[in-house]
């Protein structure tokens, strides 16, 4: 996810740099307001932890591995502003010292990896916590989805930046498709890690979770059963497979092939080559065709389905608790 120098043009790099600097400034000020000065060593060691965890890869596809981004975890544990600041520091140090991400691309990378993830994950998490039952399992499920959504949001932000100022002329639909596909898988991994981490922290030191500071979690004894966890992973994988299936046509290495076929056969590209036909054919936005809308819709549908399954898990665990 770390973008190197030269991938985004100078103007866009400067623009995103300004936005990122502004976002980081706001985050620092807000973090400072609600926290005591003891947070600086805490932020530092958490940054070290996020850095160390980012170095561990997990496989998502043959030949493709993902790693934790950490924005969702940092936001849930430390609050959105502190979380954004912490991951920003990680990204900056990675760029300056370890050539992980370009220096001119710092605006893009901070924006996507630190700011978008934290600021998206936190309200999603809080929103879910509010509507779900106040149990540890529910909080973990909320964390899972907040992470997935945050990673996808980061991926979308990247595609937007690429659309504005990316080099190499790759087809935006293809980029969107590929990014969505891969990052939905990464998002699942991040979701599992984040929720497991939250679960551990809630079990041992629930007072440390800033995102649940005003919430009283009951039923700490409800532990998700192995079957429930397996069900979630299976649901998540099903979502990922669905996304990949819908996305595969867009990610073709030779999009010209598709266009030329469409031109030859006289079919409008929008009617023939996208998977969710009919109704979506009318949604036209300059530069973004219906294939892309199909992907987005698939993503939304898939996430909703997985969420529904998650709710079912929560209901299952509650029932189990109340029969004790």
């Amino acid at each position: 996810m770390h973008v190197p120098d030269g991938f985004i043009n100078a103007a866009t790099s400067v623009g995103t740099g300004v936005v990122a600097a502004g976002g980081l400034g706001v985050s620092l000020r807000r973090a400072g307001r609600s926290l005591a000065d003891r947070q600086i060593p805490l932020a530092g060691v958490t940054a070290a932890l996020v850095f160390a965890l980012q170095m561990l890869n997990f496989p998502v596809l043959p030949g493709v591995s993902g790693h934790l981004m950490g924005g969702a975890l940092a936001a849930i544990l430390l609050g959105p502003w502190m979380g954004a600041a912490v991951v920003s520091v990680v990204v900056i140090v990675q760029a300056l010292f370890f050539a992980d991400g370009g220096i001119s691309a710092l605006g893009v990378n901070i924006l996507n990896i630190a700011i978008v993830t934290s600021l998206v994950a936190f309200p999603v998490f809080r929103g879910l916590v509010r509507v779900l039952p106040k149990t540890r399992v529910a909080a973990m499920v909320a964390a899972m989805f907040a992470s997935l959504v945050s990673v996808l949001a980061a991926a979308f932000a990247f595609v937007a930046e690429y659309a504005v100022g990316g080099v190499g002329g790759a087809d935006i639909g293809a980029v969107l498709g590929a990014m969505t596909g891969v990052h939905s898988l990464i998002g699942i991994g991040e979701g599992l890690i984040t929720s497991a981490a939250l679960g551990t922290v809630l079990a041992v030191r629930p007072d440390l979770v800033a995102g649940l500071a005003d919430v009283n979690l009951a039923g700490n004894h409800t532990v998700p059963t192995r079957r429930a966890v397996t069900a979630f992973v299976a649901a998540g994988l099903a979502v990922a497979v669905a996304l990949v299936v819908f996305v595969a046509p867009n990610a073709s290495p030779d999009p010209d092939g598709l266009e030329s076929v469409a031109a030859e056969t006289g079919f409008a590209e929008t009617a023939q080559d996208h998977p969710i036909g009919g109704p979506l054919a009318d949604y036209q936005v300059t530069g973004v065709d219906s294939e892309t809308w199909g992907t987005i819709l698939a993503g939304v549908l898939g996430t909703t389905v997985a969420f529904a399954i998650g709710l079912g898990l929560v209901a299952m665990s509650r029932r189990r608790a109340s029969t004790r």
Binding site: L24, V45, A47, A52, L56, A99, G102, G168, T200, V204
Partner: protein, 253 residues
């Protein structure tokens, strides 16, 4: 990844660049990268000059070429990524041998390769000639928010400690998992994160107590640093060359 050892990035020496004040080097790095990124990819000649400026810096820093190129090889992952671009790009194609490659993709690949390499090279020169602590002090001098440099300082200090703890937990888990490595890695990651956060948090609390005990009152104290040579000549010269090249290329494109 052995990247945790920040001190291993530094190449001990007493060259003019080693002795140059860190904030000067930071400005030079940022200015150079800015010029490189602003240069349009089509002006291939311009990158030759940028490379010459970088080479001069490497020479001034008295860095062994083997060391320099070894550190440069850090960028291999995005070299691979850049090489994929001609295959993914859209628009008009050109035949290169048996392959039909996108023209925009080829230029995009060159864009990334040239600029990322020069940028990585410049940051290698910085991290080889400047201790981490001094780089942070340079940021302070440039008036970056104190809280950021403070967090970065703690992060770098505790990186090895935390990474070591992560490694120990992973070893313990691997010892129990044996063969189920792939899924085990992911599971290990998950179980490690929560515990590590708690340990890190508690360490953060203890560090804060130690800071309070030594008079910390909310902001990092100003600790008188010895001034290193603050000479702007070399940096200004390098930046002048790079930027005039960039602007020439920009204006003529």
């Amino acid at each position: 990844m052995s990247g945790v050892h920040a001190h291993a990035l530094h190449y001990h020496g007493h060259s003019p660049l080693h002795r140059l004040a860190p904030h000067v080097k930071l400005i030079a790095l940022l200015g150079f990268v800015g010029a490189v990124v602003a240069t349009p990819a089509e002006a291939v000649w311009a990158f030759g000059i940028h490379a010459a400026v970088l080479a001069t810096a490497v020479g001034l820093a008295e860095l062994p070429l083997g060391f320099f190129f070894r550190r440069l090889s850090i960028e291999i992952p995005f070299v691979v990524f850049a090489l994929a671009m001609p295959f993914v790009g859209s628009g008009p194609d050109v035949m290169v041998g048996p392959l039909s490659l996108s023209v925009a993709g080829i230029w995009g690949a060159w864009n990334v390769l040239a600029k990322a390499t020069l940028s990585v090279g410049a940051s290698v020169v910085l991290s080889s000639t400047t201790e981490v602590a001094d780089i942070l002090a340079g940021f302070d001098r440039l008036r970056s928010p104190r809280i950021l440099t403070a967090i970065a300082g703690f992060m770098i200090r505790y990186l090895e400690v935390v990474a070591g703890e992560v490694q120990r937990v992973r070893t313990a888990i691997a010892a129990r998992l044996g063969d189920q490595r792939r899924l085990g890695e992911a599971a290990a990651l998950a179980s490690v994160s929560g515990t590590m956060f708690i340990r890190s948090y508690e360490r953060g609390e203890r560090v804060h107590h130690a800071m309070l005990a030594r008079g910390y009152s909310g902001s990092m104290p100003r600790m008188g640093e010895e001034p290193a040579t603050v000479r702007w000549v070399e940096a200004a010269a390098g930046l002048a060359v790079a930027w005039s090249v960039a602007l020439t290329a920009l204006l003529s494109s």
